[in-house]
């Protein structure tokens, strides 16, 4: 049986751990609030752009544009957004598994896939799996600093260039969408070719006046849409990460408290047992003198 001193030491250790997890929880909570604000603030822009796009699709059937046209089912690129850091429950594993499953099951019937990873953790998981072809890893994009639009735009341009160069026939984006602190939604979305959304046939639409002309407007608005989608994905992923970490650290702190309670009980029992034994010894010693 563990001695009194051993138990006391263990209580100390668990208390230390609880302090750390509680602190991490607080940090995540603060970061989460900022990230959440950023997501909420970015949503109107993304939604409006989507609206403009589907309005556009209702009027214009220009499949000619490179980013709209459906191509064959050759090679596809998967952009997977994970976190740089762990200790956030199943956050990274779940999304990495989703990506792996998506590639293995291949619902769209592509010939093969390449992976472009954002975040260190996805790389750690996927590089050891067979058949996962990782072409590039971006670390520190979703790290400690706030995600800015220019970073997302650069990534967007990189993806667009790869697509335009004919390297890939489609691009998918896989990320954790932020729903609430407790819940993330594993999202798989087609990034390219752009799907402009539902077309409502019955609706009467007046044709737009385009300035300078339709082609040029599309030429600007479509790449922008890709950038914005990536920007949003990054923001959502960061918010989800903090949410997941907060939840994970909360339950870790709770577990630590439970463990401390159990250990304290054990400690007190052991102490009482020791006292009883001592008493017995004294009494029997006193008896023998009589």
């Amino acid at each position: 049986m563990a001695s009194l001193k051993d138990i006391k030491k263990r209580i100390g250790t668990v208390k230390n751990t609880r302090q750390i997890t509680a602190a991490m929880k607080m940090v995540s909570a603060a970061k989460l609030r900022r990230a959440q604000e950023a997501v909420v603030a970015a949503r109107p822009y993304a939604d409006k752009l989507q609206e403009v796009l589907s309005n556009l699709a209702q009027r214009d059937s220009s499949d000619e544009h490179a980013l709209l046209a459906e191509r064959g089912k050759g090679k596809a690129l998967v952009v997977l957004v994970t976190a740089d850091r762990g200790l956030c429950g199943g956050f990274n594993t779940n999304i990495s598994k989703t990506a792996e499953k998506f590639i293995r099951e291949n619902p769209e019937g592509f010939e093969n896939f390449d992976l472009l990873l954002v975040g260190r953790k996805g790389n750690e998981y996927l590089k050891r799996r067979a058949g996962m072809n990782i072409v590039k890893v971006h670390e520190h994009l979703v790290g400690s600093t706030q995600v800015t639009y220019p970073t997302a735009a650069l990534l967007g341009q990189e993806v667009i260039e790869l697509y335009r160069g004919g390297e890939y026939d489609a691009v998918f984006l896989i990320y954790n969408a932020f729903i609430s602190v407790m819940a993330q939604d594993l999202t798989v979305r087609q990034l390219l070719p752009i799907q402009p959304g539902e077309v409502n046939e019955d609706e009467q639409v007046v044709d737009y006046i385009y300035e300078p002309n339709a082609g040029e407007v599309l030429e600007q608005i479509l790449p922008k849409n890709v950038e914005v989608q990536i920007f949003r994905a990054l923001l959502e992923s960061v918010a989800s990460e903090h949410g997941a970490r907060m939840t994970a650290m909360d339950s870790a702190s709770k577990n630590a408290s439970e463990m401390i309670d159990k250990l304290t009980l054990k400690y007190n029992r052991a102490r009482q047992a020791a006292i009883t034994t001592e008493l017995m010894e004294i009494i029997s010693g006193a008896e023998s003198i009589k």
Partner: protein, 136 residues
């Protein structure tokens, strides 16, 4: 015909404006254009410039930077990368940025990749100084 236009000004970071206004003037790529209530559907790109809207007797100025405008059913949606209302611009900072951009341009070759970037920076700074000057 509706009396007002709903102006929605959105950037990737936040929704800057959502207001009922009387008249909007925006810097289109091929020239400035005005929008009044009852305007037909329009989709156009914006360049770096000054967006002006009127609400009653008051006039507001906003510095905007690349984007699109969609006008439909008396709703004007402006999607821009950055938007700074006149009273939010720090004139000192804008002037400093202007100075920096001018300096950099002098040293760069016009063939340089950076040249274009700095040229845009210069244009942005100019507009910001101009808009800030209209503060009431």
């Amino acid at each position: 015909m509706a009396e007002k236009i709903k102006l929605e000004l959105v950037t990737p970071y936040k929704q800057v404006l959502s207001e009922e206004v009387d008249e909007v003037t925006a810097p289109g790529t091929i020239g400035e254009f005005g929008v009044l209530p009852g305007h037909t559907s329009l989709l156009t790109t914006l360049k770096i410039g000054e967006l002006v809207y009127k609400q009653g007797n008051q006039t507001f100025h906003v510095a905007v930077n690349w984007g699109y405008v969609e006008v439909e059913d008396d709703t004007m949606t402006v999607l821009v990368e950055t938007a700074e209302p006149a009273d939010e611009i720090d004139l000192e900072r804008a002037k400093a940025a202007l100075g920096r951009a001018e300096e950099a341009l002098k040293q760069l070759d016009s063939e340089d990749k950076q040249f274009k970037v700095m040229e845009c920076a210069l244009e942005r700074a100019l507009i910001r100084v101009q808009v800030a000057g209209r503060k009431h």
